[in-house]
């Protein structure tokens, strides 16, 4: 077992999709431990599988092979509203989430009602909500439960200016004690919330202890849209990781593979994350 500090452990995780005319690989033989205390930016071109990877972390998708261990209280995708039942009231829907996570139902309902600013609508069926109200309710539920790790797939602002400001403040206050795994097209947003980066490309996940290095790699990948992407990436992996500054956060806490990599090296597909 990995130490208690790892909130997420990937063990030989592979995932692919059958698509028209071939197979689309999301990740192949991924071994990685994500320690508590690091916030990750997940980078990659469109269709690289960032959202799929996030869904696998959430548990909505299962890996084809391998497994993902969750040693922390991991959120559902931030602002997820897909679970709201149209015929149930806002309060009933919130209560359901509270029960799943074992938090106090009435406290969560009060919090969400107040946060989402929907007042008496909390007792109306969700089908009569405006899309804005539904989004605020969903965001309120995400903020109302204290998670160890928040999963964010494109942080989209909801509500008016005031609400946006409030959401931002609360979300940032959450991150004082929690980590985040974030997919975003906005580099500025990633810089704001994350301190290290993962770059997903052709089924391989490169780990960068330094966010700027990850962004740099991502931009390089984007420029090499055509051509022999694989070869170029190959020689970039090692140095990029070495370039990161291990002293910055203490050796044990880096997002670099650590124990997982050692375990991986025993396997036949040793440097699996580097090989295509």
């Amino acid at each position: 077992m990995t130490g208690p500090q790892a909130s997420l452990v990937f063990e030989n995780v592979s995932k692919e999709f059958r698509v028209k005319g071939g197979v689309k690989t999301v990740v192949r033989d991924l071994n990685m431990a994500i320690p508590r205390g690091r916030s990750l930016a997940l980078l990659g071109r469109n269709g690289a599988g960032k959202s799929t990877l996030l869904s696998m972390v959430a548990g909505a998708l299962k890996p084809d092979r391998g497994r993902i261990l969750r040693n922390a209280n991991i959120s559902f995708p931030l602002g997820f509203a897909g679970s709201f039942h149209r015929d149930l009231s806002g309060a009933q829907n919130v209560r359901f989430v509270a029960r799943i996570y074992g938090v106090d139902e009435e406290m969560l309902i009060d919090y969400v009602q107040d946060f989402a600013e929907i007042g008496p609508f909390i007792d109306q069926p969700v089908r009569v909500y405006s899309s804005g109200m539904k989004a605020r309710l969903a965001f309120g539920v995400s903020m109302g439960i204290q998670f160890d790790v928040y999963l964010v797939d494109e942080l989209t602002a909801v509500g008016d200016q005031n609400f946006k400001k409030k959401s931002k403040t609360v979300f940032e206050s959450k991150l004082a004690n929690s980590d985040v795994i974030m997919v975003s097209h906005s580099v500025n947003q990633l810089r704001r919330y994350c301190d290290c980066g993962l770059v997903l490309e052709n089924g391989r996940l490169e780990v960068f202890d330094d966010l700027e290095a990850a962004i740099e790699r991502h931009h390089r990948n984007m420029r090499e849209v055509s051509g022999a992407v694989g070869e170029v990436v190959e020689d970039g992996v090692g140095p990029a990781r070495r370039k990161s500054r291990p002293g910055r956060r203490g050796a044990g806490r880096g997002a670099s593979p650590g124990p997982a990599a050692r375990r991986g090296s025993k396997a036949a597909r040793a440097p699996s994350r580097n090989a295509t």
């Binding site: 299962k62 015929d87 359901f96 009060d110």
Partner: protein, 269 residues
Amino acid sequence: MTDAAAPRKRHRPESPFRVHLRVVTALLRREMATRYGRTSGGYFWAVAEPAGMIGMMSMAFAALSRKPDLGQSFIVFFATGFLSFNFYRMTALQLFSAVRSNRALLNYPNVAIYDAMVARLLLQTLTNCMVAVVILGIAIWYTGQTVQLDVAWIAPALGAATLLAFGVGVMNSVLFQMFPLYQRVFLIVNRPLFIISGVLYIPEILPTQLRELIAWNPLVHVVSGFRQGVYPSYHSMITQLEYPALCGLVTLALGLLLLRRFGERLMDQ
């Protein structure tokens, strides 16, 4: 913003079983609230549907012949048949759609596909029990039919029916997604299932060859087993509840294997 008001949840290693229990309970209560949706009357319909069916069949058959194969009352005879049969049918139907209607909830890391199935199984079985008690109770009281309830037959019969429903339900929830054609064929073939399950007659009135043929249908054993627990005079020649129970275990094992191997396909679509 009073952020301190947010319920805090520290992560301590919680036993997976407790999480499962909590999630199943939450799903159960959600299903109860949404099952009949906007239809007014709610759970009244869970009783009214089979009651209407039994009432109509009884009237039709009472006009055709003088008395049923067992006892004096068509109502009680058909009630015992339909109600035990429904322990299989209703539960299996609920399980077929368990994944489809709960797919969005799998975005919660705590919720697993098995939770949704277990929740539906429990809710439908509880509903079946309630419906059976209400309808059979009223039917026996209303008709004055002499019965002698024997739990030693009733419980295993209904248990076997539920196990069979669970197995077939889990297996088909995967197979239906993989082979839509199979779903169509299965549902068409299953529509007249109650005719060959001995709901309207007892298998003993059939000629030997036909009876032996019909005994391959596990539900025949469920229905006749249940009737042995209601009619003291009835001693079925063919009932073997091990058979439907075994069918249930085999399909369940197969279903769980399929779910493990192909379960993610259910969610991708």
